[in-house]
Amino acid sequence: MKKYTDQGKKDTRSGFGAGMTELGRKNPQVVSLCADLVGSLKLDEFIEENPDRFFQVGIAEANMMGIAAGLTIGGYIPFTGTFANFSTGRVYDQIRQSIAYSGKNVKICASHAGLTLGEDGATHQILEDIGLMKMLPGMTVINTCDFNQTKAATLAIADHEGPVYLRFGRPKVPNFTDPEQEFHIGKAVMLNEGKDVTVIATGHLVWEALQAAEALEQEGISAEVINIHTIKPLDEETILASVRKTGCVVTCEEHNYLGGLGESVARTLTVHHPVPQEFVATRDTFGESGTSDQLMEKYGLDNKAIKEAVLQVLKRKA
């Protein structure tokens, strides 16, 4: 199978910070807002270089979303920054009315998504945010897998007209995508072609999916690995072409199996080409404190869980 090399572990939030720094230099319409989490969102460089284009709103996320909506009136492209929980659940109605329904060009950038922020526990983790955001008409939903992809996505969404939810995380994870690879919103990335099973992964689980595919290859199973970074709009064409070939699918995400990528894929398959599907996702539960690795293992979100899911779906296919 195609080999991917870890160029060195990095956090996806730093990819966002690097993207913001570059945007600050090349796009004078880009402004950023933060709710008392500048360091966590890696915004220091953007702020240092563009003090007039940064707004510290304090611990007041609802106000931040409204101000961001207002800043678009006058031609600016606001990027809001806080943890994923406080970027979505806490401010759902503000996003719904002032941003999504009002059609405002706001980029909601959410760090510390999923379980992997670790020790802070369930109050700061969120496993429902993809569902919340993809339900909003007109909202684009992106979940990036490594530093390079997050930086590329940050740059790409500035050129996209309309509200976007960009989801990334805290832990340092393998950085393996090509730094020169362009980011196309709504276009899946084919990471490895295979014939027995389609493994569709988003976010931190993409690297785990590649690890699982390598292990499966040792057992003679050929896994096609697709990175879906844009959950909405979903690249149905690529997904359907793959499952028509393989006949079964495993979806992998650091999110509840209700409302996430897996359900979006399932809907597509049900309508166009029903095949067996297994879900690597959390099972309608909150998270808890622990290290990132411990949590991913306990909640069944690592490469071992993906491999097991593949073996299970292959049985159903047969």
Binding site: V57, M65, G66, G70, L71, G74, G75, R96
Partner: protein
């Protein structure tokens, strides 16, 4: 309008009619054609979106859209939704409002954009007093005072009424002006909030006070249902339409009217 579709919010609309007329005809500097960005002109946000009848009426009379379109209020396929929205592309409206408490944040954002654009025009906003019970307002009020958003003039419709009764019974607001003051705002009390001249004078005063390091708040004391005797001084007509007989009485009490628009 409200009578025709047997739904809508006449009370607050009547209470703020003079404000809208003053704002759009005497106070704001406006371009002839509407643009979303509103660069080089004053802009207005309605936070208490349920008083859409008066908002739409004034926008139509100012030429943002045909007067006849008022006939479509709250009807299927209309740009005049029950609560204002940008979603159907109605000129004059820059944000959706209805879910309360969000307009001040948006107005602040637009005011910050004006500062970035070195556009010296003013951002005006209107909020219900009951709406101040929504916590987001206080985040916004704190921000505007702290960050010296001094190109913002926020008016509070202090009619002391909300759906469930008097604001002081439902959730006491107390001295609203003092609350804004301690959050760093310059506050003007407008006692005669249904007197056109008093409104114009106060808003002109507010404009003079802008640009001096503090956001400006106008506490506008109005009478809900003003101009229709049986709708005045009660919360009963917050969100209720008049029947045929009541409409006839109401129209009789107002010399200048286009009828059931």
């Amino acid at each position: 309008m409200v009578h025709k579709v047997n739904s809508g919010h006449p009370g607050g609309s009547l209470g703020c009619t003079e404000f809208f007329v003053a704002l759009y005809y005497e106070i704001m500097k406006l371009h002839d054609t509407f643009t979303m960005d509103g660069i080089g002109e004053d802009i207005f946000f309605l936070s208490n979106g349920h008083i859409s009848p008066v908002y739409y009426s004034v926008l139509a009379r100012k030429g943002y859209f045909p007067l006849e379109e008022l006939n479509t209020f709250r009807m299927l396929d209309s740009r005049l939704q029950g609560h204002p929205t940008t979603h159907e592309g109605l000129p004059g409206v820059r944000i959706a409002s209805g879910s309360l408490g969000q307009g001040m944040s948006v107005a602040i954002g637009a005011a910050l954009a004006k500062k970035l654009n070195k556009d010296e025009h003013i951002v005006y906003s209107l909020h219900g007093d009951g709406e101040l019970q929504e916590g987001q307002n206080w985040e916004a009020i704190m921000f505007a005072g702290s960050k010296k958003v001094d190109n913002l003039i926020a008016t509070i419709d202090r009619n002391s009424q909300q759906i469930d009764g008097n604001t002081e019974d439902v959730m006491a607001l107390g001295d609203v002006g003092e609350k804004f003051r301690v959050f760093g705002w310059d506050v003007l009390e407008l006692k005669e909030g249904n007197d056109l001249k008093a409104i114009i004078d106060t808003l002109k005063d507010a404009k003079k006070r802008s640009g001096k390091g503090k956001p400006v708040c106008v506490i506008m004391h109005t009478v809900m249902g003003n101009g229709v005797d049986f709708m005045m001084h009660t919360h009963a007509w917050h969100g209720k339409a008049p029947n045929d007989e009541q409409l006839a009485i109401a129209l009789d009490q107002n010399e200048e009217t286009l009828g059931d628009y």
